[in-house]
Structures are given as C-alpha cells and as structure tokens.
Amino acid sequence: MILRRIATILFLPMMFAFGSGVYLYLGTMKSKVVKERAQLPTVTKPKFLLPGTMFVVQSGRLFKLKDGSFSEIGPAGDWSMPTLTPDHTQLIAVLRAAQYSDLYLLDLNGQIIRRLTHDDSRILDANHWAFYPRVSSDGASVFYSYDSPKSGYQVDFAIWSMPLKGSQTQARRHTTPDPYPYIQRTGGDVSPVAISATKFLFVRHSIDPSTDVHTEIWLQERPSVLGYPATDGKPLTDAAQSCSQPALSPDGTQLAMICTDGKQTGRLEVAPFNGSVLGPARVLLTGGLYAQPTWSPDGKALAYYAPTGAAGHFELWYLPLPAVATPSATASASASPGGAVASAVAPTPTPAAPTPVQVTQGVDLSATSPPAWY
C-alpha cells in the first residue's frame, strides 16, 4: 500500500515533467525559417577580414565594419544608403520617415553635420522621397533620386543634383523619367553614379508600347539647362538584359552591375567602360539574388549582398577578381550596330571563375543600401 502511494507520488511529477518535455521538444523542432532571426552585426564576428573600412545598414541602423568588427554609428532612425565624399571624410545618408526621406551629411562617426534636404510637408502628397545619394568626383555636387515633378497618382523618380555646400533651392533636375509619351508610372530613374559635375550614370525604368517595363543603365552627359533636363542621355545596356545597380571601379574603367533578363535571379557582371560606352561584359556569378556590387578601394575585388540559408538573410560577400585581360570598351563600341546600345554583345564567361567568400553570418543587411567602402 505504501509502495503504491510512493509510486503514485513519483509518477505524477514524472508524467508532468515528461509531458512538458515533449511539448518543449516539439517547440525546438521548428524549422529554421521560423526560428532564425537576424542578429545585430555588433554581436557577430565577420568570417573574413575585409580590407579598409565599410559602412553598411541593417534595419535602419548604420554600422561601420573596420578591422574585423562592427560598431554602430549615428543617431537612432531609419537610415539607409550611406555614401562617402571623395575625400573620405564625410558620409551622406538617407533618413527615412513614414511619408518622406531626407539626405543628411554626417561625419564618419555618424554625427549629423547638416540636413541637406527638407522633404516633409503637412500635406500628404506634398511630401517627397530622396534616395540614392552620390557625390560627384570633384566633391561639389550630390546627385540623388527625387520624386519630382509628380502629379496625382503619377509619382516617379528623376535624377537631381544639388551643391553639397548649397541648399535644396539650388537643386536641378537632370532627367525626365520614362521617355515613352504620355504614360509614365514605372518608378522612374534611380541609382545615379556621378562621374563628374555634369556627367553621370543612372538606372532607367521605362516601358515599351506593349507596357512591358524595362531596366537599363543610362549615361547622361550634359548638364540640365535652366533647370530643365538635357535630352541626350543614352542607354548603355540592352533592355532585354535588365541591368541595374551600376558600380564604377575606383579608376573609372570598369562597371560592375547586376543583370536579370527580367527574371528573379541574375548575374553579377563587370564590363570595361571608357567613359562613353561599355565593352563586352564578363559574367562573374550567375543564378543568385545578387545585390549592390561595390568595388574595393584598390579595385581588385567586389563586395555584394546575397541571401544565404533557409532564412534568406542577405549577407555580405567578398569576391576577389581574377586578373584577366578584358577587351577595351572602344573596341566593342565599334562592333555595336547603331552605337545606341554599346554592350549588346553577349556577355563572355570568365575563364577562371572567382570564388566568393562569405563575410557576415546571420545579420540580414539591407540589400537596397549599397555599402560605402574606402
């Protein structure tokens, strides 16, 4: 009788403990996509030591990656798209609010020096977006995408520039989004890459008469006249290739870009650039969601974002470039019929495929913010 009582007393907590154990064990069996959440970069250790200093973004927070460790910089807010001034002493970044975004000049520790734009309004559709800041090589102008002019439902980005030391009232528009007559609403022009104060690359989203949307890298060589955009821009890539996210090498002779052929996944390509036309592209990587190629300070490697693992977090990758002789852009231009689309030549595969190296793990960096690297 006593034994039975002891057994009962022992069995009840044992059953409770085992039942709870099964419950908790099932909880641990959840798939990685449900369990895994991005970590703060500052609590992680990069798997690869990147040369130089890089600024990246995670969920609206700015981080500096230097000497193999991350540190958070700047005040709280929804920050994105940090870019360096040519002398590498200051940053320009985007601070986004619910209805608008502004460009800010920051020091390298993220302290605000000056607010460059004032895009907020109490009237909803009088607010504006400013994204993709890039400083011209002479440091005098900052190019950016700005949603003006706009009307009613039609909101498209155009490429604007303003003096870095001036005010937004001095800003000038350089492009008219979408050349197709009467209809726009493709999202417009983004990602300017300033070559000089009057010359820049950008990405145009355009439509054809059958309303298919195309993505092309364009070159605009003339400044705006009396505040109106020059009209002699030309596409450097073929519409069918859907190339975007241009990144010019430090010496200005090569252009890295992502081309998707209108599909979800794409190719990371590098093409020679002589300041006017693109040569045949080398395919470095293919079949992935590659984003924001960025040149290393010495121009011998690229960094980019790509998702990894079941969680699909975008991580930073490093890609040393193989030393191969590339055809000159000029040679390719003469082979291009009509000269309108210089890189219509099919991309040539690289003889020795470079091997990418994963830099971060489990941090999910913002793939729409190009890293700034010096």
Binding site: M1, L3, R4, A7, F11, M14, M15, F16, F18, G19, S20, G21, V22, Y23, L26, M29, K30, S31, V33, V34, E36, R37, A98, Y100, L124, D125, W129, F131, D147, K150, Y153, V155, D156, F157, Q184, R185, T186, G187, G188, H205, I207, T211, V213, T215, S242, S244, Q245, I258, Q264, G266, L289, A291, Q292, P307, A310, G312, H313, D364, A367, T368
Partner: protein, 336 residues
C-alpha cells in the same frame, strides 16, 4: 487459511518489476501524448474552424465544368485551387476579393500554373446580374466566388483558400520575411492606411525600392497591394502578387509539422479553406518538390485579354471588359 490469504493479497499488492516497467512506459506514453496534444491543440481547433469549409456551389451550365464539391481527387491527380485575398480591414462588412488567382497543381509532373483574375473584370455574377468579379465573394461568400469563376472561365475549382491582409502580414513575418527581386520602384502617394489604425479611410505614402531585398510582412503587403503608380495598374499588382506567392512558397517548402501551431496562430481568423488538414499538410510537403522553373504565370493583360470600359453600361464604374475568346483559350490550355 486466513494467514495464507493475507499473504497472497500482500504478494499481489506488491508491484512486480515487469508490471512496474509496463506501468511506467504507459504513463510516459500517456504524458507524452498529452504534451503533444497540448502542442498541437491550436492546430486541431483551427482544423475544425478554418479548414475543411464546406462549400456548396450551384451547378454550372458551362461546358465541361463538373459540380463542386466533387469527390476528393485521387492522390497524384491534378487539382485546381482558387486563391482569394481580401481587404478584411473592416471597411466593408462583406469584404471584396482584391486578389483572385487560379492555381492548378499537378503533383505528378510537379508543374504549377497560376492565372490571376483582374478584380475589375466585368462578368455575369453567379448570384445574378453583372458586376465586377471581386464582388462575388462579398455577395455570396466563397460559393459565389467559385461559381462565378467556374461559369465564366469554364474551369472546375476543386478547392478554395481565402486569406485576409493581416493574415498575410503575420504569415510572412512568421516566415522571417521573403526574398523578392523588385523589378522597378513601387511608389504610391495614395496607399490605404487601414492596418492597425482607428480611422480606416486615410492614406499614406509608399516607396518600395527596386532590387533584391528581404521584405517583412508589412512591406510585402505594400508591395502586393499598391497599384496607383504602376503603369500596368491592377495587372502589375497581379504580377507582384504571384511573385510574392512564389517567394512564400520558397520559404514554406522548408516548414515542418512542428511549425503548424505558429502558422495557425498567425492566420487565426484570417484564413479559410475548403481543404482538409491532411490536404494542407500534403500541399506543404508537395511544395518541397516544386521548382520555380516549373511554375507558369498568366496575367490577363490589356489589350490581348481585356480592355478598359466605363460608363452607364457598367454602373458608372471603371471596369475591365473581358475578351472571352482569348481568355477561354488560354484558360482551357492551362486548366484542362
């Protein structure tokens, strides 16, 4: 005698080691079952409340269309699901279906076909009269939506699944977001500001930037719902909806049974389907085997499949007029 009987009773009352082991195992089994039952209890509740919804669709006069419901298709046989998505934000007592996608799944060939039906398509409704096709669900629920699609598109719908906006946000957040390559900027100055707010009729601004990115639930919803600044209007939105659906599929293919309680919790009150739990589970496992290359996407664009119409003939509304010859040809070819 009395002493012997007492000794026998004492021996009997003592726990034999074999009985003790058996009893222990039984208790562990019982408690383990109870632990598992507690873990999956929300799934069972949802299974009763949200899956296996009985829908009786009025018989169709369209050629080749079988009555719904039909006996469950044989394992491995192709079947068609009507996916419905609604603004269940409280503006309408009966929500419209702002997203209608016919999905044909062929488990044997691992091929999926998706055909988006424009919400503004002007069609004869199964409930009587003509109207925009998104009103069928509001008037007669899933049965009317299915019957309207079956009669007009001459297809047989085996199952339906309905999801609300909040459910979509929660599901994508549960999956830790989805990876999408945004082809062009999606800008909208008149995006409805109706989630988690008291005043449901306000607007907000939206800017989804181009390029590959990891979208959380809120931003994914903005991406699939915005339409004002898309040159292709609702069609562009339909293509984006299919894109996000495939991104969800890519993530969902790694889910397992232990995730079901979280999924159920995320979709609580925002999901209904005629499919039983077993079919939902088999669909999840099927998702593992499907390659995105085997997914065919159809959007009924202007001018081939539809044209714009407005005026008194359409109740003063802006609608899409179907070109049935072309629509039925493409539907028949892909939904045999």
């Amino acid at each position: 005698m009395a002493g012997q009987a007492l000794a026998r009773r004492r021996r009997a009352s003592r726990l034999h080691p074999v009985r003790l082991v058996a009893l222990t195992l039984f208790c562990l089994l019982l408690s383990g079952f109870a632990g598992a039952a507690a873990y999956f209890f929300p799934v069972v509740v949802a299974g009763v409340g949200q899956t296996g919804q009985v829908v009786v669709v009025p018989p169709s006069n369209s050629p080749g269309v079988k009555a719904t419901p039909t006996p469950v298709a044989a394992p491995g046989a192709p079947f068609t699901v009507l996916l419905l998505g609604s603004d269940d934000d409280g503006k309408n007592q009966s929500p419209l279906t702002q997203s209608m996608i016919l999905v044909r799944v062929d488990p044997s060939s691992k091929h999926v076909t998706m055909e988006s039906i424009p919400r503004d398509l002007w069609v004869p409704l199964s409930t009587g009269g003509s109207g925009k096709i998104d009103g069928a669900y509001a008037i007669g629920g899933p049965a009317a939506a299915i019957a309207t699609v079956e009669r007009n598109f001459h297809v047989h719908v085996d199952e339906y699944a309905w999801v609300g906006l909040v459910g979509l946000i929660k599901l994508i957040d549960l999956l830790g977001g989805v990876d999408v390559n945004v082809t062009n900027p999606v800008l909208d100055d008149f995006y409805p500001n109706d989630i988690n707010v008291k005043f449901l009729y306000g607007y907000t601004r939206v800017a989804v930037l181009p390029g590959p990115q990891h979208l959380d639930g809120t931003n994914a919803l903005r991406y699939v719902r915005s339409r004002h600044d898309d040159v292709n209007g609702d069609f562009g939105r339909s293509a984006r909806q299919q894109q996000v659906l495939l991104a969800i599929k890519a993530k969902a293919s790694t889910l397992n049974a232990a995730d079901l309680p979280d999924i159920v919790s995320a979709l609580k009150g925002n999901f209904k389907t005629s499919m039983g739990l077993d079919r939902v589970r088999s669909l999840l496992s099927l998702a593992n085997g499907f390659d995105l290359a085997n997914v065919q996407q159809i959007v009924l664009y202007v001018p081939l499949y539809t044209s714009y119409g407005n005026g008194p003939a359409y109740g003063g509304q802006s609608v899409l007029v179907p070109h049935w010859q072309q629509i039925l040809a493409v539907t028949r070819a892909n939904f045999p």
